[in-house]
């Protein structure tokens, strides 16, 4: 049963990885990576790493991939034009050599435990309780450094991606805060309430409300709102 699950998850993970590299549209690449990550979480569960699997699904497939989808939608990563140089063949050849080398190293290793099924399973292995205890006792310093690194990365992303003044004209903001005014605003004719209705013939004067009596034309009225 575990062998069947392993092969399903492994084929899913490798197919997702190949899909990330081969698909031309970057949006489909992101979706393929989500498939890869979920399959990898299944592999983690088979290795009895429950907390890592849950963190993988929640943090990676949930949060980080949403960030990717937003950026792909913002940048509009369309179809990629294939490279015209000869490096296009060299890359896969190097990767194939790397894969062969890693597999040779794995098969020729002197590690005895690699062909076994691992250490005997103790109840409680890989639970959040044990991981948390390790994080707060033995690995406290890496934990704190990781939190500091997250803070630095968040500040760096804000500094990198913020809207800089002078880089681009803020026409939208200008238009929102200083709307273009009609030519009669601020003139004495407006103060008298006389001329602006002739200047803008399309504009209809609102009927005087019954509470406020109609003012005589010579009396100055406030600014037209």
């Amino acid at each position: 049963m575990s062998a069947v699950l392993f092969f399903i998850a492994a084929i899913g993970a490798i197919a997702g990885a190949i899909g990330v590299v081969m698909l031309r549209n970057s949006f489909y690449s992101v979706l393929s990576l989500v498939c890869h990550l979920v399959s990898l979480a299944a592999l983690f569960l088979l290795l009895r790493a429950e907390f890592v699997a849950a963190a993988q699904v929640i943090v990676y497939a949930g949060a980080v991939m949403v960030l990717y989808v937003f950026v792909v939608a913002y940048v509009g990563g369309g179809e990629e034009i294939p490279t015209r140089s000869g490096l296009r063949l060299l890359g896969p050849l190097l990767a194939l050599a790397l894969a062969v080398e890693l597999c040779v190293a794995l098969l020729g290793t002197a590690l005895k435990g690699i062909s076994g099924k691992g250490a005997p399973y103790l109840p409680g292995f890989g639970t959040p309780e044990h991981i948390g205890k390790l994080f707060l006792t033995k690995y406290l310093f890496p934990f704190e450094v990781a939190s500091l690194l997250l803070l630095v990365a968040a500040i760096g992303a804000i500094v990198l991606a913020r809207r800089r003044r002078g880089l681009e004209p803020d026409e939208e903001l200008e238009a929102r805060y200083h709307p273009p005014l009609p030519s009669w605003v601020g003139s004495m004719a407006e103060a008298g309430g006389l001329t602006h209705f002739e200047e803008t013939p399309g504009r209809q004067e609102p009927p005087p409300s019954p509470e406020s009596p109609a003012r005589p034309e010579t009396e100055p009225i406030g600014s037209q709102s």
């Binding site: 062998a3 993970a13 990885a17 990330v20 590299v21 970057s26 890869h36 990550l37 990898l40 592999l43 088979l46 290795l47 009895r48 790493a49 907390f51 890592v52 993988q56 943090v59 990676y60 949060a63 960030l67 990717y68 950026v71 913002y74 940048v75 990563g77 990629e80 490279t83 490096l87 296009r88 060299l90 896969p92 190097l94 990767a95 194939l96 894969a99 597999c103 794995l106 098969l107 435990g113 690699i114 062909s115 076994g116 691992g118 250490a119 005997p120 103790l122 292995f125 390790l134 033995k138 690995y139 934990f143 990781a146 690194l149 997250l150 760096g156 992303a157 990198l160 991606a161 880089l167």
Partner: protein
């Protein structure tokens, strides 16, 4: 399943990610392929943790996930800044970084 199978899967995923970094030209997809390589390292760490019966490998897998999240944040910020300056989103066209 023997632990060696997990390591073989990890090696294959790492090689596919390396191929993607070498072949693709969009920085978005290169970041995705970096994620693939980090995930392959994670799988190897968790497999070794199962092999030894200690949780230290899982702790380091979680820290690698934190590093990957930081890398994604800064990388996507760079891509958004490139898009704002209307630079081409293509690593072959951005030759000024070559020095």
């Amino acid at each position: 399943m023997a632990i060696g199978w997990y390591l073989v899967v990890s090696a294959l995923i790492f090689s596919i990610g390396a191929a993607g970094v070498l072949v693709r030209r969009s920085p978005l997809v290169i970041l995705l392929c970096l994620e693939l390589m980090l995930n392959a390292a994670n799988l190897a760490l968790v497999a070794f943790s199962r092999m030894w019966g200690g949780e230290d490998g899982q702790v380091f897998a979680l820290i690698v996930m934190v590093i990957a999240a930081c890398e994604v944040t800064v990388g996507l910020g760079l891509i958004v800044a490139m898009h704002r300056r209307q630079l081409p989103i293509d690593v072959d066209d951005l030759r000024e970084l070559q020095g």
